[in-house]
């Protein structure tokens, strides 16, 4: 593994008796795009603000490029940041906003003008140089904010929920644009979001945070398919949770509503009689027995929602309810509420939540 470019080491942040970040550690490689994902109040923005220098850690260390920056002021860190609220200077034009950091750094005007033009090209808004922020749409303002942040060639780029204030369509196109610019410039980036789709779609790695801690750090594939904790499994993606009882720990057999499920090799540490939470992603379940699916459960259709291209079906299995999606097929009518139904899945797709 390459030497980490950003190293957050055992960082803690308390306000009086309230600890909002507890022993948070993370190494980020050069050029990596890492997202902090979590619900409101999980401490993700506080960690980002500590990296930016707006908050001082109560304990721990932050190292960038081998240099300890924990006690440096924000204006001494050479870090770029994009804010949720754009934070463009209303009294300056687009070009002046982008040139702000260059002027503060004492760059000669000719060089600064060249860099501003280059930035405007990168964000594909070369004709907007003389406009004021109030003359731009939200998406355009946020692109200018991005250009302003990267113009001084910062060592690290911090994005604090930059897409939250934008409408859905702009959000999707801008996140792709951010990722493409980040890849092009190779700039190490931390992206804070509470939107799992955003985090899954553009990150190299995701740190899922809860209660001031990193619950799991991994690639989007790992986070989605192999959640390490119950919280991660529930927070990322849709999840069906079935309550079961271990009937034979040695053979890996679990009873779910009087039906047996085999989970060989997944019950490490569990004893016969223990109660377990078993999780299944909706896309791993089929309505009817499918080849390759080694497990099936019988139940009754509880709800049917027609969503256009897919039909969301909820199947009641005793006290549990399982949600699954099937593709809409114009020649086959959707199942009816009250019908008996079998669901099938591969036991390998079933997660045991601890």
């Amino acid at each position: 593994m390459a030497e980490p470019f950003l190293s957050i080491q055992h960082v803690r942040k308390s306000y009086g008796t309230n600890t909002v970040v507890q022993d948070f550690s993370l190494d980020v490689e050069p050029g990596e795009f890492v997202s902090f994902l979590g619900p409101s109040g999980c401490g993700k923005t506080t960690v980002l603000r500590m990296v930016a220098g707006f908050e001082e850690p109560s304990a721990g260390k932050i190292v960038v490029g081998g240099k300890d920056i924990t006690r440096l002021k924000p204006n001494q860190r050479n870090v770029g940041m994009v804010f949720q609220a754009y934070a463009l200077f209303p009294n300056l034009t687009v070009a002046q906003n982008i040139a702000f950091g260059l002027k503060v750094a004492g760059m000669p005007k000719a060089d600064s003008d060249r860099r501003v033009a280059e930035m405007l090209d990168i964000i594909k808004l070369p004709q907007m140089a003389d406009r004021y922020p109030y003359q731009l749409s939200g998406g355009q303002q946020q692109r200018i904010a991005l250009a302003r942040a990267i113009a001084p060639k910062p060592k690290l780029l911090l994005l604090d929920e930059p897409l939250s204030a934008l409408d859905a369509k702009v959000r999707v196109s801008l996140r792709e644009e951010i990722r493409s610019i980040q890849k092009k410039l190779g700039i190490t980036t931390i992206f804070v979001t509470h939107d799992q789709e955003e985090a899954l779609s553009i990150s190299d790695r995701i740190a899922v945070m809860y209660g001031g801690r990193a619950e799991q750090v991994g690639t989007p594939f790992e986070i989605y398919n192999r959640p390490a904790t119950k919280f991660v499994a529930n927070f990322v993606g849709t999840l069906n949770v079935l309550e079961g009882t271990v009937t034979d720990a040695g053979a890996g057999r679990v009873r779910v509503n009087s039906q047996e499920v085999a989970l060989k090799g997944k019950l490490n540490g569990s004893k016969s009689g223990d109660t377990l939470s078993l999780a299944l992603r909706p896309e791993a379940i089929s309505l009817a027995r499918q080849p390759g699916h080694d497990t099936s459960l019988s139940g009754e259709i509880a709800e049917v929602h027609f969503l256009g291209s897919v039909i969301r079906v909820r199947v009641g299995i005793g006290g549990n309810t399982v949600s699954l999606d099937t593709f809409n097929n114009s020649t086959t009518p959707p199942p009816a509420v009250g019908d008996k139904a079998d669901i099938s899945f591969s036991s390998g797709d079933m997660l045991v939540l601890h």
């Binding site: 707006f54 204006n75 503060v104 004021y132």
Partner: protein, 263 residues
């Protein structure tokens, strides 16, 4: 509804008459200096009087220094309170309101006792010192207006985010205040400045008790000894005040639009 509108116009008419009739009467009286005809003789006498020019210039200069002092004190203070000490806002607001409650005469007697020629800070032992003390006193009198104007201006921008955005781009406090905060509250500062100007131009108590050659005492002196000139001076003072108010309105059109808050 129609009768409601009628009564609204009646109330408006009464209010307008209450305000304008004395003004028109004063204006009309100020033009009666020449017997039998209306003329601007009183205005010619007033504007041609060297004491008018000297005292007016003195007050204008005092107003400019008061505005500079007020801006230097109020802008950083109001900015810092919004940014870092919001819990102190009610206390600071109360303090800034004190000059409206404590009469100027009390303040000026306090100054005379504190800064007399025998005190460790003998402001009153020289003309320059007394004028400086007058400017300080004026800055105190204008504090409620200046603070409120600047604070209202700061409320229209996201002070914290703009400050952080400038900081992360490498800016220090001086750059942040001069290039980010001040330009975005400039119209508010100008409103405070013009209100300060209007207060200083007509102020009598402090200037008189500190024995300064200001416009306020000159107005009082003319009023006590002449017939038509005080009326002309009153109209001139109104014109200056209204001019200031109009400038606030005109300049507010050039205010930077606040686009830093999403939607």
């Amino acid at each position: 509804m129609k009768s409601g509108k009628f009564w609204a116009w009646v109330v408006f008419g009464i209010g307008t008459a209450y305000f304008f009739i004395p003004l028109l009467a004063t204006f009309e009286f100020s033009m009666r200096m020449r017997r039998g005809v209306h003329s601007f003789d009183a205005y010619q006498v007033v504007l041609g009087d060297p004491r008018f020019q000297a005292t007016f210039m003195y007050s204008v200069i005092a107003a400019i220094f008061t505005i500079i002092l007020g801006v230097l004190i109020v802008v950083p203070a109001a900015y810092w309170i919004r940014l870092r000490l919001p819990q102190l806002r009610p206390i600071v607001e109360f303090i800034t309101l004190l000059p409206l409650v404590i009469p100027a005469i009390v303040i000026v007697f306090g100054y005379i006792r504190m800064y007399g020629s025998n005190s460790p800070l003998p402001f009153l032992s020289s003309d320059l010192g007394a004028s400086a003390l007058l400017v300080i006193g004026y800055a105190t009198l204008a504090l409620p207006y200046m603070y409120r104007a600047v604070d209202t201006g700061l409320r229209t921008i996201d002070v914290r985010t703009l400050t952080e955005a400038a900081q992360i781009l490498g800016a220090g406090w001086t750059t942040i205040i001069t290039r980010v905060i001040l330009p975005n509250v400039l119209i508010a500062v100008l409103s405070g400045a013009f209100l300060t100007f209007a207060i200083v131009i007509g102020e009598f108590t402090m200037a008189s008790l500190l024995n300064r050659p200001a416009f306020g005492p000159y107005l009082q002196n003319i009023g006590a000894n002449r017939a038509y000139e005080p009326a002309a001076l009153a109209i001139i003072a109104f014109a200056i005040t209204w001019g200031c108010m109009s400038l606030i309105q005109i300049l507010s059109r050039f205010a930077p639009k606040s686009a830093n808050r999403p939607n």
